[in-house]
């Protein structure tokens, strides 16, 4: 009755093995599904993966010196930087040639800027020397060693040559070392001088403050989510509107509002003074510091905590609490032993969301954070927009991404990502 071939495999009505014809049918389905999502796939690729990839690449890319001073780099290969002696004439000559060409197509400033990250003063050194180098005749004006040192005495110092040699490789770990307050020297990585060590501190501050913000959001958000899930529908809808209201106003407006509230001549201080709780002279400093950042960011990120908690709590049936009470548990025991454990997935989802959002937050710390309340992202923005050290910015971003992924992995190990629910 059933169709089988000589191997005993089942056949379909048209004589094909069942396995193969099923695979064909499924493949067609898969291709159709892939075609349907391909616009999204391409969009994500172009607007998300590609930019991030190229940004991350910048954190190790280091081709400025090699491209602009190619002959110098070749010549420097034979020079021993640790000897403490200046390079010889061939290297100076190669450099003079490179510099002249660079000056003519105006790329010398890029090298100057690149080396300035490592050794301050390099930018002006290149700028000044390049102006004179344009006039040199490479054939007749030798020796260039004296000429360069005459143009700027900086070329007579071993250090600039060491820096040039250290950073002449096409790829570098230098940006990553910088991102953790170290630097690349000819003797390998070493710590930055004390007064330049700020980034590790900033990373720590970012993590600790994000943690504080997350905890504050849990404490404030839990009761609200509970009310949302347990109030009668009409009231909970109203409450939901209040929770969502912040989403409908601009982030900038909300943050600025906190500025008005918290500043020394602001609403809260005025009220305290009016109530006689503090002296006129003792107005509290609540903004442009960590306190201001934590308050404002807790407020802004609170909905991201409440919503996942709410959607999980919504699925916890009230009969569980009734059952616990009918079994003899007091209100507190019923809540703590029965309700709370079931709401943990919501807390987990909210915490991950809030923590990851706050770790990369930029606008709010920028406005209300002052000097002491800024995050690592503000530093990244500074390197992108002001110091133009994109390599360092990319390295910082990559580290931030790695930290988030590691935390996510740790969370998965401890709590289990399966336990995270955004509803249902």
């Amino acid at each position: 009755m059933s169709n089988t071939n000589e191997n005993g495999a089942m056949l379909t009505a048209d004589g094909q093995p069942l396995k193969r014809s099923l695979a064909t049918a499924l493949r067609r389905q898969k291709i159709r599904a892939l075609l349907l999502i391909s616009p999204l796939l391409i969009f994500v690729l172009i607007t998300f993966l590609f930019p991030i990839g190229s940004m991350l690449f910048r954190s190790v890319e280091n081709n400025i010196v090699v491209e602009i001073l190619p002959e110098t780099v070749v010549a420097l290969a034979t020079w021993d930087g640790k000897s403490g002696e200046l390079p010889d004439e061939t290297i100076y000559a190669a450099f003079a040639g490179d510099l002249q060409r660079a000056a003519k197509n105006k790329s010398h400033t890029r090298v100057g800027l690149r080396l300035n990250y490592e050794k301050s003063g390099s930018a002006s050194l290149f700028k000044k020397t390049a102006r004179q180098a344009k006039k040199w005749d490479l054939e007749t004006d030798a020796p260039f060693k004296e000429k360069l040192i005459a143009a700027h005495k900086g070329w007579g110092e071993v250090e600039i040559w060491q820096t040039l040699k250290t950073h002449s490789s096409r790829y570098t770990a230098g940006y990553f070392l910088n991102a953790v307050d170290m630097r690349k020297t000819q003797n390998g990585p070493e710590m930055q001088p004390e007064n330049r060590q700020i980034l590790i501190k900033l990373f720590q501050r970012t993590l600790i403050m994000s943690l504080l913000i997350t905890v504050a959001c849990i404490l404030l958000g839990y009761p609200v989510a509970w009310l949302l899930a347990n109030l009668p529908r009409s009231q909970s809808n109203l409450l939901m509107i209040l929770v969502l209201l912040p989403f409908w106003t601009s982030l900038l407006v909300r943050t600025s509002a906190w500025k008005v509230m918290l500043q020394q001549q602001g609403v809260i201080n005025d009220i305290f003074v009016a109530l006689g709780m503090i002296e006129e002279s003792g107005r509290l400093v609540m903004i442009n510091n960590q306190f201001g950042t934590i308050i404002a960011m807790t407020h802004i990120l609170l909905p991201f905590m409440i919503l996942p908690m709410y959607s999980v709590m919504q699925t916890i049936q009230p009969t569980y609490l009734q059952a616990a009470k009918s079994l003899g548990a007091t209100n507190w025991t019923a809540f703590w032993r029965v309700y709370f454990p079931q709401s943990v997935p919501g807390i987990g989802a909210g915490s991950i969301l809030v923590f990851i959002l706050s770790i990369g937050y930029y606008i709010t710390p920028e406005i209300v954070g002052g000097n002491k309340g800024v995050f690592i992202s503000n530093r990244i923005a500074y390197h992108i927009f002001q110091s133009m050290n994109w390599g360092l910015a990319a390295a910082l971003g990559a580290i931030l991404l790695a930290v988030v992924l590691i935390l996510y992995w740790a969370y998965d190990k401890v709590v289990g990502i399966d336990n995270v629910k955004l509803g249902g």
Binding site: Q317, T319, Y320, Q322, S326, L327, G328, A329, N331
Partner: protein
């Protein structure tokens, strides 16, 4: 407690458990008013419709929960949990989570949890509603057996009358927030006190009419089409009242030889004959009612009525109850 949905059964049960407040009157348990005792101190076991097994605890932890909150020692606790699980034949499932159990198994665990702390009264809110028919019948028997073995009282809410009739010692029929009748199952079926109970319990034929006279325990009722029948007056008191006459389908007789001498008979037209295996179900038109059902046992000598034929039907006056209109 039996009744249609919205009749107040669950509300009543919740009042017993302490989750709803009684606005008026006293709830007495063993002669003591429990109105002001909070739910967790009432010591009443409860089985919920959806079982309400705590999903984050194993079966054993679920059962240990009521013992833990009563601060019962670990060894004692484990022994009691074990005994309760064995009682519902779930001894091997202590380490599982509720989600890993089938509906029937969850039902057993919920039952064990309500019993494990030795409650004298157990409330059940449609506990078998989610089970398939066969399992439901099996569990009905099981619950009844356990309750009898332990000597506990079970207050059981259901909207399934068969369930109520097979499981109960006494059934309270609810409608519109009132108990319509509180009686043992047989009494409820045989002698319903009003037309709601008659209609709600079992199958029932209704004929409407007016009471002509009541004498020596028999009411003479004139039906809407003018015919007269004798009835047992249940809650009609005087002539001229409107009434609904109720006759159970299996008490209707159409074999002339079995008619009571002197009993009133009615003529009927056969509309439909339905073969149901063990029973024949015949739909008749009687006194303007197109839905008059007669049930007869499928016996070798049983007559199968032909649709379209005209017959006479009759019954004992005591089986025909004149109830409120």
């Amino acid at each position: 407690m039996l009744g249609p949905s919205g009749s107040g059964k669950t509300t009543c049960l919740m009042m017993l458990a302490g989750f709803e407040t009684a606005t008026h009157g006293d709830i007495m348990l063993d002669g003591i008013s429990i109105n002001n005792i909070p739910p967790h101190k009432r010591g009443i076991g409860m089985v919920f419709q959806n079982y309400a097994l705590f999903p984050h605890m194993t079966v054993a932890e679920n059962l240990a929960f009521p013992l833990e909150v009563r601060k019962i020692g670990k060894a004692d606790r484990e022994a009691k949990v074990k005994r309760a699980l064995e009682m519902v034949q779930m001894g091997e499932f202590g380490g599982r989570r509720p989600a890993q159990l089938s509906g029937g198994q969850q039902q057993r665990v919920a039952l064990a949890r309500a019993l494990v702390f030795e409650a004298e009264l157990v409330l059940m809110d449609e506990p078998l509603g989610a089970l398939d028919k066969q399992l439901r019948e099996h569990m009905q028997f099981e619950i009844k057996r356990i309750a009898e073995n332990l000597g506990i009282t079970v207050v059981y809410v259901t909207h399934d009358q068969t369930e109520a009739l097979t499981m109960s010692d006494r059934v309270a029929v609810f409608n519109d927030g009132r108990i319509q009748q509180l009686a043992p199952p047989a009494e409820l079926y045989e002698s319903p006190q009003n037309s709601f109970v008659a209609q709600f319990i079992g199958e029932n034929n209704t004929l409407e009419g007016v009471v002509k006279e009541i004498s020596s325990g028999v009411a003479l009722v004139q039906l809407n089409d003018g015919k007269l029948i004798d009835c047992n007056p249940v809650n009609v008191t005087k002539a001229g009242e409107r009434t609904r006459v109720s006759i159970r389908p299996e008490r209707v007789e159409f074999n002339k030889e079995r008619f009571q001498p002197g009993a009133h008979t009615l003529s009927a037209e056969v509309l439909e004959f339905i073969y149901m295996g063990d029973m024949f179900r015949t739909r008749l038109r009687v006194a303007g009612n197109d839905n008059f059902i007669v049930k007869t046992r499928n016996a070798p000598d049983q007559v199968r009525l032909e649709p379209g034929s005209h017959i006479d039907i009759g019954w004992l006056p005591s089986d025909c109850r004149a109830l409120d209109a």
